[in-house]
Each structure stands twice: as C-alpha cells, then as structure tokens.
C-alpha cells in the first residue's frame, strides 16, 4: 500500500539522517524542537555554504547542474532541498529514466548529489537521505532514478549510491516511523551507545538518566533527612 501524506503533514527531509542515526536524536530536534549547535554542525553549515558556490562549469554541454532544488515526496511525507541535482545528457532517451529540460534539447538523466562535510559513515544515514531525495525527484519528475552520489569534504571523493529495494524500504520505514512519533508526540527513551559520543544533543538528551536511573522519591528522602549535615 502506498502512503500519501498531505502538505500539512510533511516533515523535513534532512531529518531522516538524524532518524537513521538515533530515533531519540530525531525526536529531540523535530518533536522537542531542541537544537544544539556544536562544532560539527556549525562546520557543516559553513561547508554547505561553500558547496552552494558553483564549482562545476554550469555551461557544459552534457551536464546541467541545479543547486538548492526544492523537493517534496508525498509518499514519504517529506520535503526539503537537494544540494545539487545534476542532469546528465543522454543519447538516446532511456525510457522511464530520462526527462526533458526547458530550453534544452535532448534527454536528461537526473543524478542527486549530496555534499557532506566529513567522511563516509558506517551506518548508512547519508545514503538514506540521498535515497529520500531520489524518491522525491522520482515523484516530481515521473521517472526512476537508479543511483546518486555522496560527496565527502574530508576525502574529496564522490561515492556512488545505488537505490536498491532494500535501501528504498529502509527509507520508507524511517519516514513512516517519523510520522508516527510526530502524530503521537512521542520522544523515544534514550539508548546509550557509542554514537552518543558524537551526538551534539547529548546534554539535552542525558542518556544516562535512563540508564542509571535514580528514583526521585529516594533522592528527596535522602536530601530532606537531617543526618548528613548534623555531624
């Protein structure tokens, strides 16, 4: 069954990478509206500002580069902006994978490219974000996109990402879960893991409250007892 979300229910597409990283982190940002900038996020912002500078020749005959392209997917219920979508000239037309561009002759195949400050990550959260962009593009252009690219600032390399059925499924599941959390107003309980060390929201999340939970009643009784300060 295919979902169809209304405009008013759309969530931020870029959030799907937080969701893939940690459900609680996503909920803290998008449900609790807590946002803590740390060095990483500030650097990421600056990196993106630079990525917005044109460093490809836009006038190349075989590639058309579009920056900051607004995206929406009603199937995923996500909206956002793609850093870069490249349209590669295609001769001949590949049915279902190419489209036409205004004021441009021939057939063009879209390739979403997402710019990331750091290096490739093991958990695949960047691939999920790229896949969500691709799904949105597919919906908007009425075609199928088989792959996209992640460009990493640290390695200065592009990594191709294949939009496999498994990746598409994972992307769909994450966005579905995001909508459930928003609808129910749920912030999942913390689960402490190695990733907490690289999370910019750890001070607002305080994962150890849940792990080394101290009952408040015992705390109150201890603090209101007089023995401790009578010596």
């Amino acid at each position: 069954m295919t979902e169809h979300y209304l405009d008013e229910d759309l969530l931020l597409l870029s959030g799907i990478q937080h969701m893939a990283f940690c459900e609680r982190q996503w909920a803290l940002i998008h449900v609790e509206q807590v946002w803590a900038e740390n060095v990483r996020t500030v650097e990421g912002k600056h990196f993106h500002e630079r990525a917005d500078d044109p460093f490809f020749d836009e006038s190349r005959k075989t590639v058309r580069i579009v920056r900051s392209m607004p995206l929406v997917s009603h199937r995923l219920g996500l909206r956002g902006v793609a850093d870069v979508v490249e349209f590669h000239h295609s001769k001949p037309e590949i049915s279902g994978e190419t489209c036409q561009l205004k004021d441009r002759e021939g057939w063009w195949r879209p390739l979403p490219v997402e710019y990331k400050r750091g290096k490739p990550k093991k958990d695949g959260r960047d691939a999920v974000q790229l896949c969500a962009q691709a799904v949105a593009l597919e919906e908007m252009l009425g075609l199928t996109i088989t792959s996209g690219c992640l460009f990493y600032g640290e390695t200065k390399r592009r990594e191709a990402v294949e939009f496999t059925p498994a990746l598409r499924q994972h992307t769909m599941e994450l966005s579905r879960k995001m909508h459930v959390l928003v609808r129910e107003g749920i912030t999942p309980k913390a689960k402490k893991g190695k990733r907490c060390a690289q999370c910019s929201l750890v001070d607002d999340c305080q994962p150890y409250w849940m792990l080394r939970h101290r009952p408040v009643a015992a705390y109150l009784a201890r603090m209101c007892s007089l023995e401790a300060d009578e010596q």
Binding site: V31, E32, Q33, V34, E37, G185, T187, K189, D203, D204, Q206, W209, M210, H213, R214, P215, V216, A217, Y219, L220, M223, C224, L226, A228, D229
Partner: protein, 343 residues
C-alpha cells in the same frame, strides 16, 4: 555536561552594542572598547539605556544568546527573543499540569521543600562555623523549626497551604538572617524583607541578586522550551515569570543569600557603596553593582557536584539543569521533579 558560557554585563550608560561578523562589539563614542565572539556568550545584560543594533539582536536571537535590558538600578525592562519556538507539546503539558491542582501542589512542595532545606542549611553552616560568636540558642530553635516544616509541607494538599508554610518559613529564616552577618553589623541590618523599594542595604543587595538569578533562571527555562510565565506555585499574573519564580525558590538561599552574606562578611562591599534617599529607599551605587556582578559571575564558575545527577557541573549551570529536569519530568522521562539541594 554543557559548558557554561559567559554573561556579558554592560554597565556603561553610553555604550553601544553592535556586531561585526561573529563578534559582539561594544562601542563608546565610536571607539571600540570590547569585542567578544558570540559563541563565547550565554547572555548579555545591559544596565541603563545602552543602544544595540538590530543586527546584534538578530545575531543573539539566532545563536540563542539572551539579550536583556535592565534599568541602571537592575529593574528588568525587556528582552530580545526569537519567535515562539520549542516544543508545543511540552508547553501544552506544562499548561495542563499548571491547571491541575494536585500536580501543581506536588511540584510546589518540591520547590519549597528544597528552599526550606537550603535556607536551613545556610543557618546550620553558620552555627557550625561560628559557634562562639552566634546566638546558638536562637539559631538552634530556627533550625529545628525549619526542619519541622518538612512534615507539614508534605501534608499540605493545596497551593494556599503550601504558600502559608513557605511564608512562615521565610519569616523564621529572615528573622534570623542578621545572625549570618558577622562584620559591618551596624550598617548591614535586615529589618524585614522588603523590596519596593528596598529600605535597607541588605534588602537592596538581595533584590539585586534576585534580579540576576531571575534572569538566569528565565533564560534557562526558555532554552529548554518551557514557558517561564506559567508556574505551579506562583499564580499567573501578566508579565510575571511565575515558573522562573518557582524554580528560583530552591536556588535563592545558596545562589543569592549566601553570596550577599559573603560579600558583607568579607567586606567586599561597604556601607558607603549605597545611597540612602530622603524617603528611606536604598539604592546601590555604581561601584557596588560592579563588585556584585563580578562576584556573581565568579561564583557561577565554581564547581559543585549536582546532588541528583551526581555529576560535576559549574554552579551557573544549575538553573539550566533544573529547568531541563523539569522539562524531562513533564515529558515523562523521570517520574518526579528532583529539586536542587545544597548540603
């Protein structure tokens, strides 16, 4: 834990605040006097009617730096904030809880229990450290009496009874406050707690410290997404930061009262640093205000072990931690609110 950033206090009345890139710049007569990167700041407090550029206000809103304007005597006038942000679900829950007398009473008991225990701890510390010089008998009586209120408070079913217990405890505490003053006793004498206007030096000093504390607590409450105007103990009144006043209760003895006592006892401030008006109103002089601000800022950097988190944090982060604990309690992460106790 989060790092405590600095608060910039602007006390020169002809200072103008501007921004230059990522820096906050203070200009006096077109000359740059001070410059600090915005990411080092927690908040900016202007005393007197300094000017500030819209661009600076924009930067402060964007970076979550609280920018407040106070009169030169410390009365709060206003604050620059961004649009209403934060979690509407959290605020809705806060409002529902505030409307529920049972929940409100429970939280009110927490704030007041900690306030009474903390003021008691202050009297207790003094009796222990200065056995020879203080009137131990009177102090003993007060300390025992304050401890006894814990039971009455726990049984108090509604806000009025809690406020009644609080009032009596404050009466007992402040009537023993002069015992805390070990030097300059003649000049610094508290007749009774009063504030509009303060009619003795201690009241003037306490009022000023409470203003600083209220500013910090209000910012902390806003930074966790709660509404500072909707409280559980203090009734709502337009313009009154009721929740900030609630959380302040537990922090007053340790943050403000103890600092006031230290400043007087160590003679960091003196009687001639206050102006007494013809009608008895007492105003702090400029130099005294600066001295108090410096001491306040220094005190906030002191490290303590938070009694509930059992984690080392700077004292200045305590308002933030308490606001966060309350927010997390309202959102269901912890089953009750653990107030701040000083032991």
């Amino acid at each position: 834990m989060r790092r405590l950033l600095n608060t910039l206090y602007v006390t020169m009345p002809d200072a103008y605040l501007a921004c230059d890139g990522e820096n906050v710049v203070i200009r006096v007569k077109d000359e740059t006097k001070f410059r600090v990167p915005v990411h080092n700041l927690e908040s900016i407090i202007c005393f007197g009617f300094a000017g500030a550029s819209p661009k600076l206000m924009y930067l402060c809103s964007e970076r979550g730096v609280a920018l407040s304007f106070l009169t030169e005597y410390g009365k709060f006038m206003g604050r620059v904030t961004g649009g209403i942000s934060g979690n509407v679900l959290l605020r809705r829950a806060q409002y529902r809880w505030a409307d529920d007398p049972t929940v409100s009473a429970r939280l009110a008991r927490r704030f007041i229990a900690a306030k009474i225990m903390n003021s008691r701890a202050l009297l207790h510390r003094l009796r222990r450290d200065h056995k020879e010089t203080v009137d131990s008998l009177a102090l003993d009586k007060a300390i025992t009496w304050l401890a006894g209120t814990a039971d009455r408070l726990e049984k108090a079913g509604n806000g009025d009874v809690i406020r009644g217990v609080e009032g009596e405890a404050a009466q007992v505490y402040f009537s023993n406050f002069n015992q805390l003053i070990l030097s300059q006793k003649e000049e610094f004498y508290l007749f009774n707690r009063n504030r509009r206007p303060p009619t003795d030096r201690i009241n003037a000093l306490l009022s000023f410290l409470y203003t600083l504390l209220a500013h910090d607590v209000t910012s902390a409450i806003e930074s966790v997404g709660l509404d500072p105007q909707v409280g559980f103990l203090h009734r709502e009144r337009p313009g009154r930061p009721s929740l900030a006043l609630d959380i302040m209760e537990e922090l007053r003895p340790h943050f403000a009262d103890r600092l006031a006592v230290t400043l007087i006892n160590r003679k960091q401030i003196s009687a001639d640093g206050f102006v007494v008006k013809e009608n008895g109103a007492v105003i702090m002089a400029e130099d005294t205000r600066k001295e108090v601000l410096t001491a306040w800022q220094k005190r906030k950097l002191e490290e303590i072990t938070h009694p509930y988190l059992e984690e080392k944090i700077s004292l200045g982060l305590v308002p933030y931690v308490q606001a966060l604990l309350l927010a997390r309690h309202i959102r269901g992460d912890i089953e009750d609110y653990p107030p701040f106790f000083w032991k």
